[in-house]
Symmetry: C2
Subunit: 340 residues, 2 copies
């Protein structure tokens, strides 16, 4: 019973825990302790902080198991080391603080309205994508660091799977600024790549992929426009961490457009980190929490999906799942290969 | 290693966890499951929520062990029940959300400046006490619910200890609106009580204690004014959960004033929940987190203290600790009895 009461208090005080951990990190206390275990007075003196600030933070740090205390000497714990040094944890914390923290105050409203009500902290946009370039620098940096961390990490493991059937032409749907396209173009000097996205993204992609000249084509398509058409002629249609930006109905509509475009021998690849296909409970935890970023900040109606949800969309769009590659890469992505 | 990585992610996503738990509570999902285990579609239909809202929340709820899932049917967990039904957990969560959440975004600044920078969310005051009556109703209600919950709970266990030496006159320093005074006046029909506080508080106390007529006296004293004087003539000077609103230097100064006022046979009682004298780790955790409310919202320089810190102040003020009553009441308060 005592443990359960404690678990409940950990949730009840969670925002304070978070800000305390961040302050322990950003005021240099964790780094100091990582170099030299020390008492509170020494830490305060060396870091030019008040003894009061150091004591109140370290006392919370003890409760969070970020530091240990023995005979008046504080030391960093293993969890504290993760908060300080693990790149993923840093990226997650910065993202939660700089992108999500303030907006999350209205999470309940977002859930009721189906709108990202937290986004108003930054500006009057319908989705975060509209406002990305106008976010304050610190917040924008944390957004992109989070986005890139999880997309970059997927590339190496996924590429061989996408090239298994030796495609001549790949269309990257939602190709954004051309990161995936570049990987493909470098991986196989013969392959042609088409990027399908909104004009703004294509403009950036064009710049980034200049040197590949006519090996790349650009296709301006608003996928949420019911009448828009995806061009045909590719052997492979790739949607990499793209569909989680859409609601299930929107996903079905997009997949139907892909179906219309695709030849009968073409393959459709969907790459997603699916929350029910993770090796570690921690990964599932992170993915499910990321869903609420979509709810509250990004668009109000998308999420990180399960394999069942994704297969339901595939089926509704009239596509067939041919093969599921599970647990790909360090963060256990799933690559679903479909045919018409 | 996996456990430690998970612990770090729990901290990294903590603000989202908190808002999700609150939404599960306030959208009625936990209450619904407490009555009837159900699948997501049923919950959505009965509570008139979107399936999307219910699913994203429940998926986070699974990771937080607030709900369980078996064969598509969700049920409330023991921790979920605590979030829903335990009065203390509710009071804590409401306080953290309605008083602390938004301001905590600038915790680091508060620690650097020694000012409650989070308070600007509500208004331009130096301390929360100045602004209390002007807080929006919901936020004010949560502040008072938190304050009263922890003071009310201490009364019954403490009263016999304060009356052990049969005082004729008790001065309640920082007596606020007269809650303690009333308990004392009711407990012993012979006792006289004096309330020492700021004029605003005394005005309310006068109203509340009207029926006790000349058994009560009111003494307007600004304890932070170096020249102010506490009146003498009492057998017992009581400071109940009062000193945690002050920095250590201020505490020493207040205790010196009490020493000056007190006769040599008088007793000085300090009642505090001290974080190192708790039976449960959860209580220590809550107290240390409450310190950061003082840092960021209340005044920028006070905290929940340890016995060692309090005894250091007592010593510096020239008082002697006569007896320490530990673990008093449901939340393990400490009553320190001092003499001149």
């Amino acid at each position: 019973m005592a443990d359960i009461a404690f678990d409940a208090q950990k949730i009840a005080f969670a925002p304070i825990s978070f800000q305390a951990a961040l302050a322990l990190r950003d005021l240099g206390i964790l780094e100091f302790l990582n170099n030299t275990p020390a008492d509170d007075k020494t830490i305060a003196k060396k870091l030019k902080l008040s003894l009061y600030a150091v004591q109140t933070l370290l006392e919370v740090g003890l409760g969070l198991d970020l530091v240990t205390l023995q005979n008046g000497v504080y030391n960093i714990s293993k969890t504290g080391w993760f908060i300080l040094c693990d790149p993923m944890t840093r990226v997650n914390m910065d993202f939660v603080n700089d992108v999500c923290y303030q907006g999350m105050y209205t999470l309940k409203d977002s859930l009721i309205k189906g709108k990202p009500t937290g986004l108003k902290v930054f500006g009057k946009w319908k989705t975060v994508y509209e406002g990305l370039s106008k976010l304050p620098k610190k917040n924008r940096t944390s957004w992109f660091a989070f986005d890139h961390f999880y997309s970059d990490i997927a590339f190496p493991a996924i590429l061989p799977l996408v090239f298994e059937l030796k495609p001549h032409t790949i269309f990257d749907i939602g190709g954004n600024t051309g990161k995936w396209a570049k990987k493909c173009l470098d991986h196989d000097p013969q392959v042609q790549v088409g990027i399908v996205d909104l004009p703004g993204q294509l403009a950036v992609a064009k710049k980034n992929l200049k040197k590949y000249k006519n090996r790349v084509s650009f296709h301006s398509v608003n996928l949420l426009d019911g009448k828009s058409v995806i061009p045909g002629g590719a052997d492979a249609y790739l949607m990499s961490q793209f569909l989680d930006c859409f609601s299930k109905d929107e996903i079905v509509s997009i997949l139907k457009k892909v179906k219309k475009a695709a030849d009968k021998n073409a393959r459709i690849y969907i790459l997603e980190p699916l929350w029910d296909r993770q090796e570690y409970a921690a990964s599932t935890f992170c993915l499910n929490h990321t869903s609420l970023y979509f709810t509250n900040i990004a668009n109000g109606n998308s999420k990180m999906y399960s394999l069942g949800e994704m297969e339901e969309c595939i089926k509704k769009a009239g596509l067939k799942t041919e093969k599921v590659f599970d647990g790909v890469g360090r963060f256990a992505y799933t690559l679903i290969r479909c045919t018409k």
